[in-house]
Protein backbone atom coordinates (compact mmCIF):
# COMPACT_ATOMS: atom_id res chain seq x y z
CA UNK A 1 0.00 0.00 0.00
CA UNK A 2 3.00 2.28 0.58
CA UNK A 3 3.89 2.13 -3.11
CA UNK A 4 0.32 3.03 -4.00
CA UNK A 5 0.36 5.93 -1.56
CA UNK A 6 3.63 7.12 -3.13
CA UNK A 7 2.06 6.93 -6.58
CA UNK A 8 -0.80 9.08 -5.29
CA UNK A 9 1.68 11.64 -3.99
CA UNK A 10 3.49 11.56 -7.35
CA UNK A 11 0.28 12.25 -9.21
CA UNK A 12 -0.33 15.25 -6.98
CA UNK A 13 3.20 16.55 -7.60
CA UNK A 14 2.55 16.04 -11.32
CA UNK A 15 0.23 19.05 -11.12
CA UNK A 16 3.45 21.03 -10.59
CA UNK A 17 5.98 19.05 -12.67
CA UNK A 18 4.95 16.56 -15.36
CA UNK A 19 7.74 13.95 -14.84
CA UNK A 20 5.97 13.07 -11.57
CA UNK A 21 3.10 11.72 -13.68
CA UNK A 22 5.48 9.22 -15.26
CA UNK A 23 6.90 8.36 -11.84
CA UNK A 24 3.39 7.89 -10.44
CA UNK A 25 2.54 5.56 -13.32
CA UNK A 26 5.72 3.51 -12.85
CA UNK A 27 5.03 3.23 -9.10
CA UNK A 28 1.42 2.23 -9.73
CA UNK A 29 2.42 -0.41 -12.28
CA UNK A 30 4.99 -1.65 -9.78
CA UNK A 31 2.26 -1.91 -7.15
CA UNK A 32 -0.02 -3.86 -9.50
CA UNK A 33 2.83 -6.26 -10.35
CA UNK A 34 3.69 -6.73 -6.66
CA UNK A 35 0.03 -7.44 -5.88
CA UNK A 36 -0.02 -9.97 -8.67
CA UNK A 37 3.10 -11.70 -7.37
CA UNK A 38 1.74 -11.69 -3.80
CA UNK A 39 -1.63 -13.13 -4.85
CA UNK A 40 -0.30 -15.47 -7.54
CA UNK A 41 -2.84 -14.14 -10.06
CA UNK A 42 -3.83 -10.97 -11.91
CA UNK A 43 -5.00 -8.49 -9.26
CA UNK A 44 -8.34 -7.65 -10.86
CA UNK A 45 -11.00 -8.55 -8.31
CA UNK A 46 -12.78 -6.04 -6.13
CA UNK A 47 -12.81 -2.23 -6.02
CA UNK A 48 -9.26 -1.73 -4.74
CA UNK A 49 -7.52 -3.65 -7.53
CA UNK A 50 -9.83 -2.60 -10.34
CA UNK A 51 -9.73 1.12 -9.51
CA UNK A 52 -5.93 0.94 -9.28
CA UNK A 53 -5.78 -0.74 -12.67
CA UNK A 54 -8.16 1.85 -14.11
CA UNK A 55 -6.09 4.73 -12.76
CA UNK A 56 -2.87 3.28 -14.18
CA UNK A 57 -4.55 2.63 -17.54
CA UNK A 58 -5.83 6.21 -17.78
CA UNK A 59 -2.34 7.58 -17.08
CA UNK A 60 -0.74 5.15 -19.53
CA UNK A 61 -3.14 5.90 -22.39
CA UNK A 62 -3.15 9.64 -21.72
CA UNK A 63 0.59 9.99 -22.31
CA UNK A 64 0.67 9.28 -26.08
CA UNK A 65 -2.49 11.32 -26.60
CA UNK A 66 -1.09 14.21 -24.57
CA UNK A 67 2.12 14.34 -26.61
CA UNK A 68 0.08 14.88 -29.78
CA UNK A 69 -1.31 18.09 -28.31
CA UNK A 70 0.50 21.40 -28.60
CA UNK A 71 -1.24 24.27 -26.80
CA UNK A 72 -3.31 22.21 -24.39
CA UNK A 73 -0.62 19.69 -23.48
CA UNK A 74 0.25 20.93 -19.99
CA UNK A 75 -3.35 21.50 -18.95
CA UNK A 76 -4.36 18.10 -20.36
CA UNK A 77 -1.69 16.33 -18.32
CA UNK A 78 -2.70 18.32 -15.23
CA UNK A 79 -6.32 17.20 -15.65
CA UNK A 80 -5.19 13.60 -16.13
CA UNK A 81 -2.91 13.76 -13.07
CA UNK A 82 -5.72 15.17 -10.92
CA UNK A 83 -8.21 12.55 -12.16
CA UNK A 84 -5.84 9.67 -11.65
CA UNK A 85 -4.95 10.97 -8.19
CA UNK A 86 -8.66 10.94 -7.27
CA UNK A 87 -9.07 7.37 -8.50
CA UNK A 88 -5.96 6.34 -6.57
CA UNK A 89 -7.43 7.81 -3.38
CA UNK A 90 -10.56 5.69 -3.90
CA UNK A 91 -8.32 2.68 -4.39
CA UNK A 92 -6.38 3.46 -1.20
CA UNK A 93 -9.61 3.66 0.81
CA UNK A 94 -11.15 0.52 -0.73
CA UNK A 95 -10.93 -2.93 0.75
CA UNK A 96 -8.44 -5.33 -0.76
CA UNK A 97 -9.70 -8.77 -1.69
CA UNK A 98 -6.92 -11.22 -0.94
CA UNK A 99 -8.83 -14.49 -0.94
CA UNK A 100 -7.94 -17.04 -3.62
CA UNK A 101 -9.94 -16.92 -6.80
CA UNK A 102 -12.88 -19.32 -6.99
CA UNK A 103 -12.32 -21.96 -9.70
CA UNK A 104 -14.79 -20.26 -12.04
CA UNK A 105 -12.57 -17.16 -12.24
CA UNK A 106 -9.38 -19.10 -12.99
CA UNK A 107 -9.58 -18.74 -16.71
CA UNK A 108 -7.95 -16.82 -19.53
CA UNK A 109 -11.40 -15.55 -20.59
CA UNK A 110 -11.99 -13.81 -17.26
CA UNK A 111 -8.58 -12.15 -17.30
CA UNK A 112 -8.97 -10.89 -20.86
CA UNK A 113 -12.55 -9.77 -20.24
CA UNK A 114 -11.58 -7.64 -17.24
CA UNK A 115 -8.30 -6.26 -18.64
CA UNK A 116 -9.94 -5.19 -21.91
CA UNK A 117 -12.91 -3.67 -20.10
CA UNK A 118 -10.70 -1.44 -17.95
CA UNK A 119 -8.45 -0.48 -20.83
CA UNK A 120 -11.54 0.61 -22.74
CA UNK A 121 -12.85 2.57 -19.72
CA UNK A 122 -9.48 4.31 -19.56
CA UNK A 123 -9.68 5.30 -23.22
CA UNK A 124 -13.21 6.61 -22.72
CA UNK A 125 -11.83 8.62 -19.80
CA UNK A 126 -9.08 10.09 -22.00
CA UNK A 127 -11.74 10.89 -24.61
CA UNK A 128 -13.77 12.72 -21.96
CA UNK A 129 -10.71 14.77 -20.96
CA UNK A 130 -10.09 15.66 -24.60
CA UNK A 131 -13.76 16.56 -24.90
CA UNK A 132 -13.44 18.97 -21.99
CA UNK A 133 -10.66 20.87 -23.75
CA UNK A 134 -12.48 20.67 -27.03
CA UNK A 135 -15.42 22.54 -25.48
CA UNK A 136 -13.10 25.30 -24.27
CA UNK A 137 -11.01 25.56 -27.47
CA UNK A 138 -12.47 24.75 -30.84
CA UNK A 139 -9.59 22.71 -32.23
CA UNK A 140 -10.07 20.03 -34.92
CA UNK A 141 -7.01 18.19 -33.54
CA UNK A 142 -8.82 17.69 -30.20
CA UNK A 143 -11.92 16.42 -32.02
CA UNK A 144 -9.86 13.96 -34.05
CA UNK A 145 -8.01 12.72 -30.97
CA UNK A 146 -11.25 12.25 -29.05
CA UNK A 147 -12.65 10.21 -31.94
CA UNK A 148 -9.52 8.08 -32.04
CA UNK A 149 -9.69 7.42 -28.29
CA UNK A 150 -13.38 6.50 -28.52
CA UNK A 151 -12.90 4.26 -31.57
CA UNK A 152 -10.09 2.26 -29.99
CA UNK A 153 -11.94 2.19 -26.66
CA UNK A 154 -15.07 0.95 -28.43
CA UNK A 155 -13.05 -1.80 -30.13
CA UNK A 156 -11.59 -2.97 -26.80
CA UNK A 157 -14.97 -2.64 -25.06
CA UNK A 158 -16.64 -4.79 -27.71
CA UNK A 159 -13.87 -7.36 -27.46
CA UNK A 160 -14.31 -7.38 -23.70
CA UNK A 161 -18.03 -8.08 -24.17
CA UNK A 162 -17.25 -10.90 -26.61
CA UNK A 163 -14.77 -12.51 -24.21
CA UNK A 164 -17.31 -12.03 -21.42
CA UNK A 165 -19.96 -13.76 -23.52
CA UNK A 166 -17.67 -16.69 -24.31
CA UNK A 167 -16.74 -17.04 -20.64
CA UNK A 168 -20.39 -16.79 -19.53
CA UNK A 169 -21.33 -19.55 -21.99
CA UNK A 170 -18.59 -21.83 -20.66
CA UNK A 171 -19.26 -20.99 -17.00
CA UNK A 172 -23.05 -20.61 -16.90
CA UNK A 173 -24.37 -21.96 -20.20
CA UNK A 174 -25.51 -18.66 -21.66
CA UNK A 175 -23.61 -15.88 -23.47
CA UNK A 176 -25.95 -13.17 -22.19
CA UNK A 177 -27.80 -12.65 -18.91
CA UNK A 178 -30.20 -9.78 -18.32
CA UNK A 179 -28.82 -8.34 -15.07
CA UNK A 180 -28.17 -4.66 -14.21
CA UNK A 181 -24.49 -4.98 -15.24
CA UNK A 182 -25.26 -6.36 -18.69
CA UNK A 183 -28.03 -3.82 -19.16
CA UNK A 184 -25.75 -0.90 -18.29
CA UNK A 185 -23.04 -2.42 -20.49
CA UNK A 186 -25.58 -2.37 -23.34
CA UNK A 187 -26.33 1.27 -22.52
CA UNK A 188 -22.62 2.16 -22.66
CA UNK A 189 -22.08 0.24 -25.90
CA UNK A 190 -25.16 1.70 -27.57
CA UNK A 191 -24.16 5.19 -26.45
CA UNK A 192 -20.74 4.93 -28.08
CA UNK A 193 -22.32 3.36 -31.17
CA UNK A 194 -24.45 6.50 -31.29
CA UNK A 195 -21.32 8.66 -30.86
CA UNK A 196 -19.50 6.94 -33.74
CA UNK A 197 -22.45 7.37 -36.07
CA UNK A 198 -23.37 10.90 -34.96
CA UNK A 199 -19.99 12.31 -36.03
CA UNK A 200 -20.92 11.45 -39.63
CA UNK A 201 -23.58 14.16 -39.46
CA UNK A 202 -22.47 17.79 -39.77
CA UNK A 203 -24.85 18.97 -37.02
CA UNK A 204 -23.08 16.81 -34.43
CA UNK A 205 -19.53 17.91 -35.26
CA UNK A 206 -17.59 20.00 -32.77
CA UNK A 207 -19.00 20.80 -29.33
CA UNK A 208 -21.88 18.25 -29.39
CA UNK A 209 -19.37 15.43 -29.90
CA UNK A 210 -17.21 16.81 -27.09
CA UNK A 211 -20.21 16.74 -24.74
CA UNK A 212 -21.11 13.22 -25.88
CA UNK A 213 -17.59 12.08 -25.04
CA UNK A 214 -17.95 13.41 -21.50
CA UNK A 215 -21.47 12.01 -20.98
CA UNK A 216 -20.25 8.64 -22.25
CA UNK A 217 -17.58 8.44 -19.58
CA UNK A 218 -20.13 9.29 -16.87
CA UNK A 219 -22.27 6.39 -18.12
CA UNK A 220 -19.22 4.12 -18.15
CA UNK A 221 -18.30 5.12 -14.58
CA UNK A 222 -21.82 4.26 -13.44
CA UNK A 223 -21.66 0.96 -15.33
CA UNK A 224 -18.40 0.11 -13.59
CA UNK A 225 -18.80 1.53 -10.09
CA UNK A 226 -22.45 2.37 -9.65
CA UNK A 227 -23.80 -0.99 -10.71
CA UNK A 228 -21.16 -2.98 -8.85
CA UNK A 229 -21.68 -1.06 -5.60
CA UNK A 230 -25.42 -0.36 -5.68
CA UNK A 231 -27.00 -3.28 -7.52
CA UNK A 232 -27.10 -7.03 -7.17
CA UNK A 233 -25.59 -8.90 -10.10
CA UNK A 234 -22.90 -11.41 -11.01
CA UNK A 235 -20.54 -8.39 -11.22
CA UNK A 236 -21.20 -7.07 -7.71
CA UNK A 237 -18.19 -6.22 -5.58
Amino acid sequence: MTILALSFASYLFALWKRPFLYLGLVLQIGYIVSRGVELGRLPLVGPHDTITFLAASIAAFAIPFGFTLKEERDRFFSLISASVAIFTVFALTSKQINSPLPPILKTFWFECHVVLAFMSYALFGVAAALGYFSIKNRDPVLDALQYRAVLIGYCLFTLSMIFGGIWAYLAWGTYWVWTPKELWTSISWTFYSFYLHARLRQWWMGRPMAYLGIIGFVIVLFTYLGVSLLMKSSHSF
Binding site: P103, C155, L183, I187, F194
Partner: protein, 241 residues
Protein backbone atom coordinates in the same frame (compact mmCIF):
# COMPACT_ATOMS: atom_id res chain seq x y z
CA UNK B 1 -44.42 3.92 -55.74
CA UNK B 2 -44.06 7.17 -53.76
CA UNK B 3 -44.63 5.19 -50.55
CA UNK B 4 -41.90 2.73 -51.53
CA UNK B 5 -39.53 5.63 -52.22
CA UNK B 6 -40.31 7.16 -48.84
CA UNK B 7 -39.76 3.83 -47.06
CA UNK B 8 -36.49 3.43 -48.94
CA UNK B 9 -35.43 6.96 -47.98
CA UNK B 10 -36.38 6.34 -44.34
CA UNK B 11 -34.31 3.17 -44.09
CA UNK B 12 -31.34 4.70 -45.93
CA UNK B 13 -31.18 7.70 -43.65
CA UNK B 14 -28.47 8.30 -41.03
CA UNK B 15 -31.09 10.30 -39.17
CA UNK B 16 -33.09 7.06 -38.79
CA UNK B 17 -29.96 5.39 -37.40
CA UNK B 18 -29.37 8.12 -34.83
CA UNK B 19 -33.00 8.37 -33.77
CA UNK B 20 -33.23 4.56 -33.46
CA UNK B 21 -30.06 4.31 -31.39
CA UNK B 22 -31.25 7.18 -29.23
CA UNK B 23 -34.60 5.48 -28.64
CA UNK B 24 -32.91 2.15 -27.84
CA UNK B 25 -30.85 4.04 -25.25
CA UNK B 26 -34.00 5.48 -23.70
CA UNK B 27 -35.60 2.01 -23.60
CA UNK B 28 -32.53 0.51 -21.93
CA UNK B 29 -32.39 3.37 -19.40
CA UNK B 30 -36.06 2.78 -18.57
CA UNK B 31 -35.30 -0.92 -18.13
CA UNK B 32 -32.34 -0.09 -15.89
CA UNK B 33 -34.79 1.52 -13.45
CA UNK B 34 -37.65 -0.96 -13.85
CA UNK B 35 -35.62 -4.18 -13.69
CA UNK B 36 -33.85 -4.02 -10.29
CA UNK B 37 -37.00 -3.57 -8.26
CA UNK B 38 -39.14 -6.16 -10.03
CA UNK B 39 -39.26 -9.84 -8.99
CA UNK B 40 -40.86 -10.82 -12.31
CA UNK B 41 -37.39 -10.73 -13.89
CA UNK B 42 -36.19 -13.64 -11.76
CA UNK B 43 -37.93 -16.05 -14.13
CA UNK B 44 -36.53 -14.31 -17.22
CA UNK B 45 -33.77 -16.83 -17.97
CA UNK B 46 -35.78 -19.98 -17.29
CA UNK B 47 -37.78 -19.71 -20.48
CA UNK B 48 -37.40 -18.08 -23.91
CA UNK B 49 -37.52 -14.29 -23.68
CA UNK B 50 -40.47 -13.98 -26.07
CA UNK B 51 -42.43 -16.53 -24.05
CA UNK B 52 -41.61 -14.72 -20.80
CA UNK B 53 -42.44 -11.28 -22.17
CA UNK B 54 -45.90 -12.44 -23.27
CA UNK B 55 -46.70 -13.65 -19.76
CA UNK B 56 -45.77 -10.44 -17.95
CA UNK B 57 -47.80 -7.25 -17.49
CA UNK B 58 -47.03 -4.43 -19.90
CA UNK B 59 -45.95 -2.01 -17.18
CA UNK B 60 -42.97 -4.33 -16.59
CA UNK B 61 -42.13 -5.19 -20.20
CA UNK B 62 -43.00 -2.14 -22.30
CA UNK B 63 -39.34 -1.14 -22.51
CA UNK B 64 -38.39 -4.61 -23.80
CA UNK B 65 -41.13 -4.50 -26.41
CA UNK B 66 -39.96 -1.03 -27.43
CA UNK B 67 -36.36 -2.27 -27.68
CA UNK B 68 -37.36 -5.24 -29.86
CA UNK B 69 -39.37 -3.05 -32.24
CA UNK B 70 -36.68 -0.38 -32.52
CA UNK B 71 -33.93 -2.97 -32.98
CA UNK B 72 -35.94 -4.41 -35.87
CA UNK B 73 -35.84 -0.93 -37.43
CA UNK B 74 -32.10 -0.71 -36.71
CA UNK B 75 -31.55 -4.10 -38.38
CA UNK B 76 -33.37 -3.08 -41.57
CA UNK B 77 -31.68 0.33 -41.53
CA UNK B 78 -28.27 -1.35 -41.19
CA UNK B 79 -28.97 -3.70 -44.07
CA UNK B 80 -30.24 -0.95 -46.37
CA UNK B 81 -27.33 1.39 -45.61
CA UNK B 82 -24.69 -1.31 -46.00
CA UNK B 83 -26.03 -2.53 -49.33
CA UNK B 84 -26.34 1.03 -50.65
CA UNK B 85 -22.85 1.91 -49.46
CA UNK B 86 -21.28 -1.07 -51.20
CA UNK B 87 -23.25 -0.69 -54.42
CA UNK B 88 -22.79 3.09 -54.80
CA UNK B 89 -19.12 3.27 -53.87
CA UNK B 90 -17.86 -0.02 -55.32
CA UNK B 91 -15.52 1.75 -57.74
CA UNK B 92 -13.66 3.81 -55.13
CA UNK B 93 -9.95 3.26 -54.64
CA UNK B 94 -10.05 2.77 -50.88
CA UNK B 95 -12.42 -0.18 -51.16
CA UNK B 96 -11.26 -1.90 -47.99
CA UNK B 97 -11.90 1.30 -46.01
CA UNK B 98 -15.40 1.37 -47.50
CA UNK B 99 -16.15 -2.25 -46.75
CA UNK B 100 -14.79 -2.51 -43.19
CA UNK B 101 -17.73 -0.60 -41.60
CA UNK B 102 -20.05 -2.91 -43.54
CA UNK B 103 -18.24 -5.95 -42.12
CA UNK B 104 -18.87 -4.44 -38.70
CA UNK B 105 -22.54 -4.11 -39.64
CA UNK B 106 -22.71 -7.74 -40.77
CA UNK B 107 -21.24 -8.81 -37.43
CA UNK B 108 -23.82 -6.67 -35.65
CA UNK B 109 -26.65 -8.27 -37.65
CA UNK B 110 -25.39 -11.77 -36.77
CA UNK B 111 -25.40 -10.76 -33.10
CA UNK B 112 -28.97 -9.48 -33.42
CA UNK B 113 -29.90 -12.77 -35.08
CA UNK B 114 -28.29 -14.63 -32.19
CA UNK B 115 -30.36 -12.72 -29.64
CA UNK B 116 -33.50 -13.27 -31.70
CA UNK B 117 -32.90 -17.04 -31.87
CA UNK B 118 -32.21 -17.12 -28.14
CA UNK B 119 -35.36 -15.09 -27.48
CA UNK B 120 -37.31 -17.77 -29.38
CA UNK B 121 -35.81 -20.87 -27.89
CA UNK B 122 -33.36 -20.38 -25.02
CA UNK B 123 -34.17 -21.82 -21.63
CA UNK B 124 -32.52 -22.83 -18.38
CA UNK B 125 -33.27 -25.48 -15.79
CA UNK B 126 -31.62 -26.00 -12.45
CA UNK B 127 -31.60 -29.08 -10.25
CA UNK B 128 -29.96 -29.90 -6.94
CA UNK B 129 -28.06 -33.17 -7.18
CA UNK B 130 -25.72 -35.49 -5.31
CA UNK B 131 -23.66 -38.47 -6.33
CA UNK B 132 -25.99 -41.03 -7.84
CA UNK B 133 -28.76 -38.54 -8.67
CA UNK B 134 -30.58 -39.26 -11.91
CA UNK B 135 -32.70 -36.85 -13.94
CA UNK B 136 -34.55 -37.13 -17.22
CA UNK B 137 -33.69 -34.41 -19.71
CA UNK B 138 -36.69 -32.33 -20.77
CA UNK B 139 -38.19 -33.36 -24.07
CA UNK B 140 -36.16 -36.56 -24.47
CA UNK B 141 -35.72 -40.08 -23.11
CA UNK B 142 -32.15 -39.38 -22.10
CA UNK B 143 -31.29 -39.79 -18.44
CA UNK B 144 -28.42 -37.89 -16.89
CA UNK B 145 -26.74 -39.48 -13.88
CA UNK B 146 -24.21 -37.90 -11.53
CA UNK B 147 -21.56 -40.60 -11.19
CA UNK B 148 -18.99 -38.77 -9.09
CA UNK B 149 -18.50 -35.39 -7.41
CA UNK B 150 -14.95 -34.45 -6.53
CA UNK B 151 -14.40 -31.18 -4.65
CA UNK B 152 -10.95 -30.09 -3.45
CA UNK B 153 -10.88 -27.65 -0.56
CA UNK B 154 -7.82 -25.74 0.64
CA UNK B 155 -6.58 -25.30 4.20
CA UNK B 156 -8.88 -22.30 4.80
CA UNK B 157 -11.98 -24.03 3.49
CA UNK B 158 -12.08 -22.32 0.08
CA UNK B 159 -12.98 -24.55 -2.86
CA UNK B 160 -9.79 -24.94 -4.90
CA UNK B 161 -11.06 -27.10 -7.71
CA UNK B 162 -13.82 -29.52 -8.59
CA UNK B 163 -15.04 -31.93 -11.19
CA UNK B 164 -18.29 -33.79 -11.71
CA UNK B 165 -18.45 -37.02 -13.71
CA UNK B 166 -21.75 -37.54 -15.48
CA UNK B 167 -23.25 -40.15 -17.73
CA UNK B 168 -25.98 -39.92 -20.34
CA UNK B 169 -28.04 -43.03 -21.00
CA UNK B 170 -31.07 -44.08 -23.00
CA UNK B 171 -33.04 -47.22 -22.39
CA UNK B 172 -30.50 -48.30 -19.78
CA UNK B 173 -27.58 -48.06 -22.24
CA UNK B 174 -24.80 -45.51 -21.70
CA UNK B 175 -24.46 -43.26 -24.71
CA UNK B 176 -21.93 -40.72 -23.43
CA UNK B 177 -19.75 -40.06 -20.42
CA UNK B 178 -18.42 -36.63 -19.65
CA UNK B 179 -16.62 -34.60 -16.99
CA UNK B 180 -17.76 -31.11 -16.00
CA UNK B 181 -15.03 -28.83 -14.69
CA UNK B 182 -14.94 -25.07 -14.00
CA UNK B 183 -15.50 -23.33 -17.36
CA UNK B 184 -15.67 -26.73 -19.08
CA UNK B 185 -19.33 -27.66 -19.40
CA UNK B 186 -20.69 -30.81 -20.92
CA UNK B 187 -22.31 -30.17 -24.29
CA UNK B 188 -24.84 -32.83 -25.19
CA UNK B 189 -27.00 -32.48 -28.31
CA UNK B 190 -26.97 -28.68 -28.05
CA UNK B 191 -27.61 -28.70 -24.31
CA UNK B 192 -25.01 -27.01 -22.09
CA UNK B 193 -24.75 -28.84 -18.77
CA UNK B 194 -22.76 -26.97 -16.15
CA UNK B 195 -22.48 -26.59 -12.39
CA UNK B 196 -23.87 -23.32 -11.05
CA UNK B 197 -22.96 -23.89 -7.44
CA UNK B 198 -21.57 -26.54 -5.16
CA UNK B 199 -21.17 -27.40 -1.49
CA UNK B 200 -18.32 -29.41 -0.05
CA UNK B 201 -19.83 -30.86 3.12
CA UNK B 202 -21.93 -32.79 2.27
CA UNK B 203 -21.04 -32.84 -1.43
CA UNK B 204 -23.94 -31.34 -3.32
CA UNK B 205 -24.19 -29.49 -6.59
CA UNK B 206 -26.66 -27.21 -8.30
CA UNK B 207 -26.70 -28.46 -11.86
CA UNK B 208 -27.72 -26.03 -14.57
CA UNK B 209 -28.94 -27.06 -18.00
CA UNK B 210 -29.07 -24.41 -20.72
CA UNK B 211 -30.16 -24.40 -24.29
CA UNK B 212 -28.87 -21.41 -26.26
CA UNK B 213 -29.80 -21.61 -29.93
CA UNK B 214 -28.15 -18.27 -30.65
CA UNK B 215 -24.74 -19.05 -29.15
CA UNK B 216 -22.94 -19.98 -32.39
CA UNK B 217 -24.33 -16.96 -34.25
CA UNK B 218 -23.29 -14.69 -31.37
CA UNK B 219 -19.73 -16.00 -31.64
CA UNK B 220 -19.66 -15.68 -35.43
CA UNK B 221 -21.12 -12.18 -35.17
CA UNK B 222 -18.55 -11.18 -32.57
CA UNK B 223 -15.65 -12.43 -34.68
CA UNK B 224 -16.91 -10.70 -37.83
CA UNK B 225 -17.53 -7.48 -35.88
CA UNK B 226 -14.00 -7.51 -34.54
CA UNK B 227 -12.46 -8.21 -37.95
CA UNK B 228 -14.33 -5.20 -39.29
CA UNK B 229 -13.40 -2.80 -36.51
CA UNK B 230 -9.74 -3.82 -36.34
CA UNK B 231 -9.44 -3.45 -40.13
CA UNK B 232 -11.07 -0.03 -39.91
CA UNK B 233 -8.68 1.17 -37.19
CA UNK B 234 -5.59 -0.10 -39.06
CA UNK B 235 -6.71 1.53 -42.30
CA UNK B 236 -7.52 4.83 -40.60
CA UNK B 237 -4.09 4.91 -38.95
CA UNK B 238 -2.42 4.18 -42.32
CA UNK B 239 -4.48 6.87 -44.00
CA UNK B 240 -3.46 9.45 -41.38
CA UNK B 241 0.23 8.58 -41.88
Amino acid sequence: MILLKQINKFFLSMRTTLWSLGLVLIMFLAGAFIMPGNTAFKALHHMPLLEWINKQPLNVTWWLWGTIIILAVVAVNTLFCSVESIVKKRKVTQWLLLISPQIIHVGFLFILLAHFLSALGAYQEVAAAREGSRMKLTGSNTVLQIKDINIRVDYYGYIKDWQVVIEYSEGGKTIQKDIIRPNQPSIFRGLNVNVKNLKAYPEEILLQLNREPGATWALVGGIVFMIGIVTLIILKIRLEK
